[in-house]
């Protein structure tokens, strides 16, 4: 097993999206770091299977300018690390490019798959991240990939738990999602990006107690926490990043934070289209509350906003 790489302690972060620039300005004193998804700064060049990705120079430069003076972490969307036929090499190419221009404190991806291979060999794009089964075969695929990504840039690599709506995923060895995450983190040395809103959605949608399940998770390998709010449709809680963080998720964070000794940061996720719903003041409230929990659990953190209080 590869040793788990300890992350730096960054503080409270916000997802970088162009439509959130107003929030960045108004909440600058509360933002310690930014989380960037390189995919959102790219264009796709048409190709037979998926196409190549290239950064759009103006978007990339703008992102670097807005994030200047603060640490950056990366959260990818398109790697498809769980695809048995192969992950997205095009995404790795842009990640290499990104790292060369803007080193990041850690990087992360979604634990799932987007693409599969049809029987005739052509690519099949699911259009939505799908969960991997909780099986030994899935672990055999994921462990070396996670290990390799942890070594690629010399910084921690994290995997994020997905929201999913499919009941009774195949499992062996008596595994559920928590045991699978523990096995994956334990064998590969990768960190965990614990998306507490996703975890809360799965608990509500699939019928288990979130706190009891979290008590079994390898919290010593949780490097980052995501907080978000969403919506309900047809009885399902949806992970849409479209609202303030609901109280049950705050309670989970308040429980997790003091028990995750290597927690490097917490990020509030918000879609730019939802800023009019939450409002800049609403974003401030989420960041302020996250900071109160962070500071209670990390006494070495600087008071009043971390090291990057002014832009």
């Amino acid at each position: 097993m590869d040793p788990f790489a300890l992350p730096p302690r960054l503080g409270v972060g916000l997802t970088y999206q162009r439509g959130l620039h107003g929030a960045f300005t108004e909440c600058a004193d509360l933002i310690d770091f930014y989380e960037i998804s390189p995919d959102l700064l790219c264009r796709e060049q048409p190709g037979a299977d998926g196409g190549a990705l290239r950064f759009q120079p103006d978007l990339f430069a703008e992102a670097l300018d807005w994030c200047a003076g603060r640490p950056v972490v990366v959260h990818g969307l398109g790697l498809s690390i769980g695809s048995a036929h192969g992950w997205n090499e095009g995404y790795l190419a842009i990640l290499d490019d990104f790292h060369a221009r803007c080193p990041f404190a850690w990087h992360s991806e979604h634990l799932g798959f987007l693409t599969a291979q049809r029987p005739d060999g052509r690519l099949l794009h699911a259009g939505v991240p799908l969960p991997v089964p909780f099986t030994e075969e899935a672990l055999a695929l994921l462990v070396p990939r996670a290990t390799a990504l942890g070594q690629r840039y010399g910084v921690p690599f994290l995997l994020e738990n997905l929201t999913y709506y499919l009941p009774n995923l195949p499992a062996d060895g008596g595994r559920d999602e928590v045991m699978f995450l523990n096995d994956l983190a334990g064998r590969s040395g990768c960190g965990l990006l614990l998306d507490l809103y996703n975890f809360h959605c799965n608990a509500i949608n699939l019928g288990f107690d979130a706190r009891t399940a979290l008590s079994r998770l390898k919290l010593d390998q949780v490097v980052e926490v995501h907080l978000a709010g969403g919506t309900t449709h047809d009885g399902f809680l949806l992970d849409v990043h479209s609202d303030a963080v609901p109280e049950p998720v705050w309670e989970l964070f308040e429980w997790v934070a003091p028990r995750a000794p290597h927690l490097g940061g917490v990020v509030y996720e918000l879609l730019e289209q939802a800023l009019p719903v939450v409002g800049v003041e609403g974003v401030r409230r989420q960041l302020e509350r996250a900071r109160r929990v962070w500071q209670k659990c990390s006494p070495t953190a600087r008071k009043g906003g971390g090291a990057y209080a002014t832009r």
Binding site: E44, G82, R118, V128, L130
Partner: protein, 228 residues
């Protein structure tokens, strides 16, 4: 079952919203080439009937629709609320998911709208659904703008070729009317040319008749689109 086959089966079910299972058996159609046991096929069949599976499929279509409503606003505004919903639904049914990128999805949608608008009536598109005045010009224009954004030079150098789009009415008046929801201007017998290029400010500009003639005769790199 091998992980790859399981992923292919699940993704196929999501993309086809369960229809890949077929009415009487699970071994036909898109799942026929996979190495699945009877128990695994039973699980897939059971999944395809679950509310969670239906929600997964719905989310996939929502994300695709969100991309289109963000990127193809002009064309959808021209179509109006009910026809744009019909057009999006027909597109999502006809074109399987292939990308998470907004522009790629929008380009494919605009191609679908253009192909459908010029095709003979057929079963899944009502005869009048896409016979909308100015639709070909506006869809071509919007497509050219998106393509220009994709083609903007990644470094210094000669930009790729431009697109010229022809309208039956003054383009600025038409586009303003679409965006405001005002009555559309009527054709006045003249033709109006717009040049779309990644090197132009705002990526497009109206051309005078002389400029259009010069470009048509001299610009071999131009893709001339006669939208009428």
């Amino acid at each position: 079952m091998p992980l790859g086959d399981w992923e292919t089966a699940l993704a196929t079910l999501v993309v086809t919203r369960g229809s890949a299972l077929g009415p009487d058996g699970l071994r036909r159609g898109a799942l026929g080439g996979l190495n699945l046991t009877a128990a695994e096929l039973d699980w897939l069949g059971w999944q395809a009937g679950s509310p969670g599976f239906a929600m997964t499929c719905r989310i996939q279509r929502w994300w695709r629709e969100i991309r289109l409503r963000w990127a193809a606003r002009l064309t959808l505004a021209l179509l109006g609320p009910s026809r744009s919903t019909e057009a999006i639904a027909a597109y999502l049914d006809a074109v399987p998911s292939f990308s998470l990128f907004i522009v790629s999805e929008a380009l494919a949608f605009l191609d679908f709208v253009l192909d459908t608008a010029s095709a003979a009536p057929h079963d899944f598109v009502p005869d009048t659904a896409l016979r909308v005045p100015h639709l070909p010009a506006v869809a071509h224009f919007e497509r050219a703008l998106l393509a220009a954004a994709q083609a903007a030079p990644l470094s210094a150098g000669v930009p790729p070729g431009a697109t010229m789009v022809e309208f039956d009415v003054p383009p600025e008046a038409l586009l303003t009317a679409i965006l405001r929801g005002d009555p559309l201007p009527e054709p006045d017998g003249d033709k109006y040319q717009v040049l779309v290029s990644p090197v132009l400010r705002h990526r497009w500009q109206c051309l005078s008749p002389e400029e259009a003639r010069l470009l048509e005769t001299g610009c071999h790199a131009c893709q001339i689109v006669l939208a009428s």
